[in-house]
């Protein structure tokens, strides 16, 4: 057992889960990703959309229900699985639920949807459906910060635990694709008509994906070498444009700088980038990573396996990255072949061995927001 210098309490992962087209546990998901699998495929005419699109989608029929939406179902399923084997009683007042989502049940706005109450389109109502299931007495908090929500929700969890207000925080990120979201990204010309190619010279846009992912955090005075510690996180704005990233990576660079703190960059196993495979996002991240002095750190993106899972992405990609370090592995960037950003990055084109125990999760989103989170196995000095 080692104690963190200064005796400051640490925020520690208790358990996690991922529900995605690649599996219903974190281990299943990691094994599929390590083997290079993906559920990305082309959909023609789905949901009456005039243009085809490439996406990673869950089987809607497997989650059909007249009481709960697919979003609510997979959140409850994911949290239930994360709770298995823990001592946590969700009826405790010291347990808080934080849901990370961008659009939640937005499909209920469609006039053709008439099975469930329209009020469930409110994100707070969707979250209450979840806490009601777990008989939790606290008002759930929904973080809705576009595509960085999943890291923001983890930063909120760290703050609530650090302040001592709660003993356990259950963070679940979720988004399920619909005509609403796909048509919107199509109108932006942001979608690729094939499997996405993060950081590649021939990248031509992103794919969307369905997922729910859960991490449960608690606070400890001491951690052992095998426990995952959420060390530092930051959210920063580009103050530049609501729908395009900064040309100088301003917010992403500033978030990285805070998350890195006084850590020696040589301790980083990798940076798990946002890497959506849009021309602007990946270019911006290369600038931010270089400005932060991290050009020599391996970089990967998981969008080629899952597509962009929006509100789930920050949680899902943090879990897969922890699994990779547990397995002494830096995952390949599926879809990447030739570097296509102007600033040098060491993007992984195949799985690599590592003995390092620290990584940074990086995200960016509409509204000019950016987030970075430093995770360390056994903590950092």
């Amino acid at each position: 057992m080692e104690e963190k210098i200064g005796g400051k309490r640490m925020i520690v992962k208790v358990s996690d889960n991922i529900i995605s087209p690649l599996g219903t546990t974190s281990a299943e998901n990691y094994a599929a990703v390590k083997a290079g699998m993906s559920a990305l495929r082309r959909y023609d005419g789905l949901w009456g959309l005039p243009e085809p699109f490439f996406a990673s989608l869950l089987d809607r029929k497997a989650y059909a229900d007249d009481r709960q939406t697919i979003d609510e179902k997979i959140v409850i399923d994911s949290i239930s699985k994360a709770l298995e084997g823990t001592v946590i009683d969700t009826t405790w007042t010291k347990v808080l639920f934080i849901i990370s989502t961008t659009k939640g049940n937005v499909f209920l706005l469609d006039e053709r949807e008439n099975g469930l109450p329209k009020e469930r389109v409110r994100l707070g109502m969707m979250a209450r459906e979840v806490t009601k299931h777990f008989c939790n007495p606290n008002e759930p908090i929904v973080v809705s910060n576009a595509c960085i929500s999943g890291v923001c929700a983890q930063i909120e969890a760290m703050r609530y635990l650090e302040s001592g207000e709660y003993d356990y925080v259950i963070v679940c990120g979720v988004d399920v694709q619909s005509a609403f979201i796909v048509s919107g990204f199509q109108s932006f010309k942001a979608l690729s008509q094939e499997a996405c190619k993060p950081f590649d010279a021939n990248r031509c846009g992103l794919n969307l994906g369905d997922a729910a992912a859960t991490i449960i955090y608690t606070r400890k005075d001491k951690v052992n070498d095998n426990e995952w510690v959420a060390c530092r996180g930051a959210i920063r704005n580009d103050a530049n444009h609501i729908s395009g990233p900064s040309r100088v990576g301003e917010g992403s660079y500033r978030a990285l700088r805070v998350a890195l703190g006084d850590l020696d960059p040589s301790e980083l196993a990798f940076i798990n980038a946002h890497g959506t495979a849009t021309p602007y996002n990946d270019e911006m991240e290369s600038i931010a990573i270089e400005r932060a002095g991290l050009s020599s750190v391996p970089v990967n993106s998981l969008k080629g396996y899952y597509g962009h899972t929006m509100g789930a992405a920050g949680v899902l990609e943090t879990i897969i990255s922890m699994q990779a370090i547990d397995d002494h592995n830096i995952l390949a960037t599926r879809g990447f072949d030739t570097l296509g950003v102007t600033h040098h990055l060491d993007v992984t084109d195949q799985n690599r061995n590592t003995e390092k125990r620290v990584f940074i999760k990086l995200l960016s989103g509409f509204g000019g927001c950016n987030a970075a989170l430093l995770m360390a196995k056994g903590g950092v000095q």
Partner: protein, 184 residues
Amino acid sequence: MIRHCVHISPNEVKVDGKALIHNDKGSTMLTELYRTYVGDYPKFFKMDTLSRVGFLASELLLNAEGNRCFEPREDRAVIFFNRNASLQADTHYQSTIQNPENYFPSPAAFVYTLPNIVTGEIAIRNKYFGETSFMIIDDFDEKIIMKNLENAFQDPITKSIIGGWVDCSDEEHFEADIFIMEKD
């Protein structure tokens, strides 16, 4: 410590508790407030209602604070809460894709279907590189909001926050109660 506060509802505007005089109500009142108190930021007319309300409330708040300089800073965060997320923009966007014979999705409408865009609009206007965040709770709860904002000072750089409640259910129904919170 709380410094300055602004309240906006469809028929009432208050700065530090003092009512502002205006002729119009609802959405036309928002345009009137823009013309009277801002005037030089035409991006206002592209914004959805949630962003207009949050933007105008922040302008009145920052005018009350005084010494506006628009110099880049990282030590100020913008953190809002509400009930309806981006419902007005969502409903509008849905109307553009509902009918296959009248299908015209646009990036300009889609981008506002994210509630955090209003925090980005305020960051852009004022060159704030600090934290921006948007959270949803189904009922206004002052205790939850104040505790959350106090927690935000755990960030090593954040020294003040433009924070509070900015909600909108449609073009004519909205509410802002925001303030500047400074680190103790």
